[in-house]
Structures are given as C-alpha cells and as structure tokens.
C-alpha cells in the first residue's frame, strides 16, 4: 500500500528546477505528482513519477543527489470536510505528519493526498481501519 517517491536536492538558484524537469523530459518520464519544499538556501523536490527506475538512473547520470522513500496516497471524495476527516483520524491515533501534498484526480470527483508519516505502517493501518481508500503504488504511477 506504499507509494514510492523520489526526492531531489536542489540549490536555491535560478535554473535549478529547470535542470530537473529537463532531465525528466529528456528521459520521457511523466510526473504524477510533485511538491517543492524549500528553505532560504536549498530545496527538496519530491516527485512521484510513472517510471521510478528510469528517473533515478537519469538523475544519477546528471549528478543529482536523490533519495527514494515511501509515502502513502489516500483517495477521498473532493468535497468540504474531506481532508478534515483524515486529520481527525490521524490525531486520534497520534500519528505525526511530516509533510503532505495533494492533487485532484482527473475525473474531478476525488482528491488524492500524499502523506509522509513518522510511522508509515501505523498511518496506513489507521486509515484502513477507518475505511479510507489507500491507493497502491501501481495505481498512482498510472493515474
């Protein structure tokens, strides 16, 4: 039930992001979801792509520092209170969210929220127990 994510280290300078996107475009890799976290002098670009292996290879060939890690994708109806229903469960189960990012599914009916929990397995269990749809990686990569 885990989704693989690849993170790329970026210096905060013009052209940094452009270099990453060029690598992906040249390798014909499609971005499913992304989030850019930054501080005053560096950034971390987190990506979910359709072909993780090729992406990692392409980044390494270009000298990027990358890391693969696991996140959780939750599908919820796209309506007011949807996100809140998840945070309520996480609070009850005392699960800490390191970061999250979200996008709306193509059909427009559902939203998908990507979570990075401090304890990923406990997070997945809590969501499943409460009837949430946790998407398997394969499904997210092919969205």
């Amino acid at each position: 039930m885990k989704v693989e994510q690849i993170s790329v280290f970026l210096e905060n300078q013009p052209g940094g992001l452009e270099h990453v996107t060029r690598v992906l475009a040249d390798a014909d890799i499609n971005i499913r979801a992304l989030s850019l976290a930054d501080t005053s002098d560096f950034g971390i670009l987190r990506l979910i792509v359709d072909d993780m292996e090729s992406a990692e290879k392409a980044f390494h060939d270009e000298g990027f520092t990358v890391k693969r890690s696991h996140v959780v994708a939750v599908e919820i109806p796209d309506r007011p209170g949807g996100m809140h229903s998840i945070s309520k469960v996480l609070t009850e189960k005392n699960i800490n969210v390191e970061y999250a990012y979200a996008f709306v599914e193509r059909s427009g009916e559902n939203a998908i929220i990507i979570f990075r929990f401090d304890d990923i397995d406990a997070g997945i269990d809590a969501l499943l127990e409460n009837g949430f749809t946790v998407l398997p990686g394969e499904k997210v990569y092919r969205l």
Binding site: F9, T39, F42, I44, T65, V66, K67, S69, R116
Partner: protein, 433 residues
C-alpha cells in the same frame, strides 16, 4: 616617550654586539638542554661554537610549527616544569594546540615589553586601559594585562564578548586606551553608534590593535569612528605573545621589533634564503632571552618586510611593515586562526559527509564572516527538510566547538563545487583589507 630608553635606543653596533652575545648564550643553552635542538644542530652540522658573527645565525636550522606539534606538549621546554610559572597555547591544524611555557623571568620580560609597547603608543601610568583581548590560553589578554600593571597604568580586564557591557564600561569608567582586535574595535564603534552612543566623545584616545591582519584603510575608519589613534601591535604566542613588535605613535610607519630580545629575519618561504631589507619575505624570529621556551629561527609564515632606516621616534630597533599575508593557507577570522584542514576534519567527522567544501571569507560591516559550502551526499540526503537542517546545525556546532568560530553553513548540490587535478581552490577570501 620611551619606556626603556637605554635598550630601545642602543646604537646599532652595541645592539648587535648584545644580540650576538645573547644568541651565543641561547644556542648553547638549547643545544645542551633540549634534545630536539641537539639533533637538529647536529643534522645541520653546526654547533653553538660556530656562531661567531650575527650572520652565522643563517647556519642554524629553522624551527617550524610542525616541530612544535611533534614535541607536544612540553618537549621543547628548556627548563624543568618546576621553573615554569605559566602555560599558554595557540590553535593548531590538528586540533591540538601548540603549548608555550614561561618562567617568572619570562613573564617579567614579557610584561616589560608590553609596557614598552604601551609607552610607544603614548601611554603613561596615568592611563586606564580597557583590555578586550580574550583572557585564557590565548596570550593576548594576560599579556596586555601584565604589561599595563608593569607600566603602572590601570587595567580593566574586560576580555572578549558582552559588547553592550563593554560599551557601558567605555562610557562609565572612561578608559583612555583600548586593546583588542581591529575588527572588534570597529564592531564596538558600530554597536555603540547603533545604541545611540557618541563613540567619538568617549575618553578613549589610543587603540593598541593586533592579532589579525588589517589595513591602512581600516585604521582610518577606526580612528574616524572612535576618535582615537590606532596603532598596530604584533606578537605570536610561540615567540612570546603580543609585544614582540609595536608601532610607535611618532612614526606610525612599521612596528619596532624589540631587537634586544629577538632577532628577526625575512626569508623566501620557498627557498629558505634570507631576503634583503626592504623586500617582502616570511618573518623568522629567534628569541634571545626566553628561558622556558626559546625558539631558534622560528618560521612564522607571516609575510612582511623589514625597514632599517632610522625612525623619528629615536628607537634604533628595526621596523617590520604591517603583516601583509600568510605564506600558508591559514585564515585569521576575527582573530582566530583557522586552517582549511581543520574544517575538513570536522566535516569528515560527520558520518555521511564528503570532503568537498568551499570556504568563503568575507567581511560584513566590519566583522569577518565565514561561510562553508558543503556538498550534499546521498548518504545524508533526505526527503525531509528538518533532517537537512539538522545536518547544517551539526556542522555549525562542531565548527564552533572545535575551532571557536561561527560559520554559516550552506548545503550545495553534489559535484557543484569546482574540482581540478591539482590543488582545489577551497578558500575564497573576499575581504578587502
């Protein structure tokens, strides 16, 4: 005014005769009491009896910082520990400091040379000296302290830091002179001005500034903002501490090396050959009267030139120009010696970090700044910001703990720092001094 008129104005001939006599004594003493010198002299094929003229000093081997490290901590002491009354230490590249010792007489001579320095700066027993050099292993604080007491002036033992309090004391105690690094003098001016204090109207009239390289431009700025006469003092713990050489208020052109206690030479740092007066070279000192820790031809790595022309102040001692640089890669940041190799070992001490870094030294306002750019490695990289910030904080803390300087750490992409086949340019010094 001259503190020790007899010795500071000795005719050259008499001064050189005194130097020769003392050089013969000190070489004889170290040859027979310090194993290191016996071996070094024997290897160079020279004995103390070969010293017949002052020029014969050139036959003696050099002593280097590495020799001091190899004999850490007390291996070069020429007297038993029971005769040592004080120890000081300076920073070294490996994290181990170099240790120096003093007998009671060494401390007295040092105090007298500091008193000479103060008098050369125009101070008398009526002055109050605000001593903002750090007290501790560093020789600056206690050296200036004892010199003030020797002169009979009043010392305020401030030490470094607590800038607000320093400004309060400058206002309330009314010191007439200050001892500190040039950059700290400017920092005090800045902070005082920001606090709304008219720094020019203080009773301060003289600054005895040293322990880091500075320039004529910086002198003018200090003098303008503090309304003082700023003079350069030189020294290094290995030789004694501050008070090896001092600029006189009358001449303000070079620092008189107190030649009755030290022989100064300038050499080509590459070949070790002596260079003529007036030409730039590495300063080499021999201490003539030190009992506990005499040094023979110690290579300072400081670049300067010597001036033999008579000075208007009447002192006959040779002058050295303001130190213009270092022959090695040592950086002096806010008065603290920093070697790139020290930073490298701190980085390598943190698991997962590589040895690729770049140091950027600059001056913001009037304080030296150090930025360390460290290449990211996949071993420490994370998808979480807080993990990377933790690494930055860890580097900053370790640098502070081991080297005593505050650095700004910036993580950069792997492979982004310039590399070349030969020597990597690891230091970018943007300071204009």
């Amino acid at each position: 005014m001259i503190f020790n008129e007899e010795f500071e104005t000795l005719p050259r001939e008499a001064l050189e005769a005194l130097q020769l006599k003392r050089l013969q004594q000190v070489t004889g003493r170290v040859y027979h009491t310090v194993g290191f010198y016996k071996r070094a002299f024997d290897e160079a094929g020279v004995t103390p009896d070969d010293i017949k003229t002052l020029d014969d000093i050139r036959r003696l081997p050099f002593t280097t910082k590495q020799d001091l490290r190899d004999n850490y901590p007390f291996g070069l002491f020429a007297v038993p520990m029971s005769n040592i009354v004080r120890l000081h230490a300076s920073s070294g590249t490996t994290g181990k400091p170099t240790v120096v010792g003093y007998t009671r007489r060494d401390i007295e001579i040092w105090s007298r040379l500091m008193a000479r320095s103060f008098v050369a700066a125009g101070l008398t027993s009526n002055d109050i000296i605000h001593n903002a050099y750090g007290y501790g292993l560093f020789t600056g604080g206690l050296g200036a302290h004892y010199g003030t007491e020797m002169l009979g002036a009043s010392v305020i033992p401030m030490s470094g830091g607590s800038t607000k309090k320093q400004i309060m004391i400058l206002q309330d105690f009314g010191p007439t002179a200050i001892c500190c690094t040039p950059s700290y003098a400017l920092y005090l001016a800045e902070r005082g001005e920001a606090m709304g204090v008219d720094m020019r109207s203080l009773k301060l009239r003289v600054g005895i500034l040293g322990a880091e390289p500075w320039s004529e431009k910086m002198r003018q700025e200090i003098e303008g903002r503090l309304g003082i006469t700023a003079l350069d003092i030189y020294g290094l713990s290995e030789i004694m501490g501050p008070g090896v050489a001092m600029e006189c208020a009358e001449g303000r052109d070079g620092l008189h090396v107190f030649e009755d206690h030290f022989i100064v030479e300038t050499i080509n740092p590459e070949t070790g050959e002596n260079v003529p007066y007036g030409e730039e070279g590495e300063l080499v000192f021999t201490s003539l009267t030190k009992e506990a820790f005499p040094l023979i031809r110690y290579r300072t790595k400081d670049i300067s030139r010597l001036m033999k022309e008579p000075c208007r102040c009447g002192r006959t001692h040779v002058r050295m120009a303001r130190v213009s640089g270092r022959s090695d890669d040592m950086l002096i940041i806010r008065g603290v010696n920093v070697f790139p190799s020290q930073i490298e070992s701190v980085l390598l001490g943190i698991e997962g970090l590589g040895p690729h870094y770049e140091l950027i030294v600059d001056r913001e306002g009037n304080l030296d700044t150090l930025e360390i750019r460290v290449e990211m490695s996949e071993d420490v990289f994370s998808d979480e910001i807080k993990t990377l910030q933790k690494i930055e904080r860890r580097i900053t803390k370790d640098i502070k703990d081991y080297l005593g300087v505050t650095a700004k750490v910036k993580l950069v992409g792997a492979g982004s720092l310039e590399r070349s086949e030969g020597k990597t340019q690891k230091v970018i010094d943007k300071r204009e001094i």
